[in-house]
Symmetry: none
């Protein structure tokens, strides 16, 4: 007896859901978890408050989901940049490129991850820690390759270097995002050079 949920309707619903998540992303990125209200989100999405609860179970769940999805997106982007067979320097450049690209074209993504979830609900705090660890882990994997290729300074604790890099990049990215017209290319080039120095890179002969 059930009417076939016309494909069109389904698509429309999905589109709306996506639109609402983007609205939520923007609001959370700007205000952070606590300061952002559900009313802010629905206003941004131009829907009624009940609509929010039609699409999402509650504020916390949405934020957690948004945070995880965003974190996965970033980490996969980095993963992609480091996969394949290439030398350390090439991969590092690609990775940095990738990260800065996201920062340039999807600033809310970065804002959400870096400031949106701080000082929030405990379950969220946990997620944030996980993200930082996975982010450092991504860099660490890259460094390990460099180490195996024998192009990095020794001794060094690759984990700690990876954390240093992750933190350093984000500091610079946040500074960039505060500028009206950030020159991402120059920053990327400099970040690459600085990071190469940081790990004591010596090109193989």
């Amino acid at each position: 007896m059930a009417y076939r949920s016309s494909e069109k309707t389904r698509q429309k619903k999905d589109a709306k859901r996506t639109a609402m998540m983007q609205a939520a992303m923007k609001v959370f990125a700007e205000k952070g978890y606590h300061a952002a209200t559900v009313r802010d989100v629905v206003k941004q999405a131009d829907v009624a408050i009940g609509t929010f609860y039609f699409y999402f179970p509650d504020k916390e769940t949405l934020f957690t989901y948004l945070y995880e999805e965003t974190a996965d997106f970033i980490l996969q982007s980095l993963q992609q940049a480091t996969s394949g067979s290439a030398d350390f320097e090439t991969k590092l450049k690609a990775t940095m490129q990738s990260y800065l690209n996201i920062a340039a074209y999807e600033p809310a993504v970065i804002q959400l991850l870096l400031v949106g979830g701080v000082g929030a609900v405990p379950s969220l705090h946990e997620k944030r820690i996980q993200f930082r660890e996975r982010l450092a882990g991504a860099w660490q994997r890259l460094l390990r390759e460099g180490h195996e290729q024998g192009v990095l300074a020794t001794p060094q604790d690759l984990r700690r270097s990876a954390e240093y890099i992750a933190g350093g990049i984000d500091e610079i990215v946040l500074t960039l995002l505060r500028l009206p017209n950030p020159n991402t290319d120059v920053a990327t080039a400099e970040l690459i050079q600085t990071t190469l120095r940081l790990v004591g890179y010596q090109a193989a002969e």
Copy 2:
């Protein structure tokens, strides 16, 4: 006949005010701005809620003041480490030592600055940005000395390197603070070495 609060009274008042600020620091560092309530603070300080509003105009002002004071404390500590006449390496070691010391013995100070005020009230956001800039500025001054002594790699944007350092250190510090028994000494030594590489340090002959 003009009233004048006797010196003793004033001291007592100041002591209470200080105690309340320490209580507030602890609470804000643990929970962050939004999750911490004024009631949490007064409970920690063991005073009535009305007393809070005798000493501070409101929650936001207190937090801002606390944030500024804490930021000043950190920045002055770094300043002290870099003042005097010594070579670049010595000063960098002293600075790093100083920062990590604070993290080790006054973790709340670091927590407050790094996570306590993120995603909070707009006025606070501003303060946070200022702090990051001043922190980068402190490192930048040190790097400039190194540059003038000719011991750093060129070309490099000292400002950007300073930001990289500031961000990298904090990432590692936050990781350390999550551990039950962080070995600060090892971390400090590594941070120094990594930072020296980052700036392309070459000891003068």
Copy 3:
């Protein structure tokens, strides 16, 4: 050319309507008026929420209608038991039998009437009062017969005795319904005896 819904269509519609009312009865009996939601009802009936509003104008009206219908059903059952020509004792036994039978086989009916509509909407409160009065009225009619047959103790206010009986039975019924395997037969026999004593029954010689 006037449309006329074919007999078949009407029957189908009535069937659906009935099914939805049974679903509503179950839900209201279990949760009571306020705690039961329209969504609970449509879920139980396995239809969409819009369908509910096609068949019923709103929640309150449905409940009121359901309550009335159920009340009528009970009262008619009692009526039937007391109709015909028989002596007081026989009729009382039949009436009690009838009531306890409903409680045993259609507990939701009783639950709905006794607890489903308490503390609800004003219009419902009115209905509940009416039901109690009609229920007492049914007993009162029976008692009047007994009085006319001269088998009841005098003096007694038949109305008040009728209320006493109605309230006493329901108290016991509700207690029974809480048991996993209520022995209705024993309870019925006891209720009959107790009620006969209550009205001071003396078999005619």
Copy 4:
């Protein structure tokens, strides 16, 4: 340093708390748990909504507490009436007197117990069941005395009779409370006579 909480202040607070509980009692008795809102209560008490939460942790807790307290009050009143050494008839009269007195002078107490907590939150449902059981228990104890004095009809299930009595009385009481000027005395006398018949009372020679 703590100022002595002047006895006067304390008393005032207690008085207010009591006033608020009475306001809550009235509202809950009139509307039942679900239909009554916290705003209804604070409006009745003429205080702000925050004041409610200063005195009580939440709506459910208050209601539960109110319900328990009221139940205890009623049960203790009955207890008092049945204690002491007197014959069965005297005690039954006293008990009935006591119950009807409360109904006459504190109708909200009865309303709360009988209708206020029906169909409410699960924890409350439990409380209601407990109350009914304790109420029946009170009557049962009285009947047992009568049984031991050999003035009651045998055989009869004293528990079931007790429930019958409890339910019957409440039905009549609720009817009375609907009248503008209920004549409690006549009702009491009749209830006593009817109850004596119900239990098959035969005065000892």
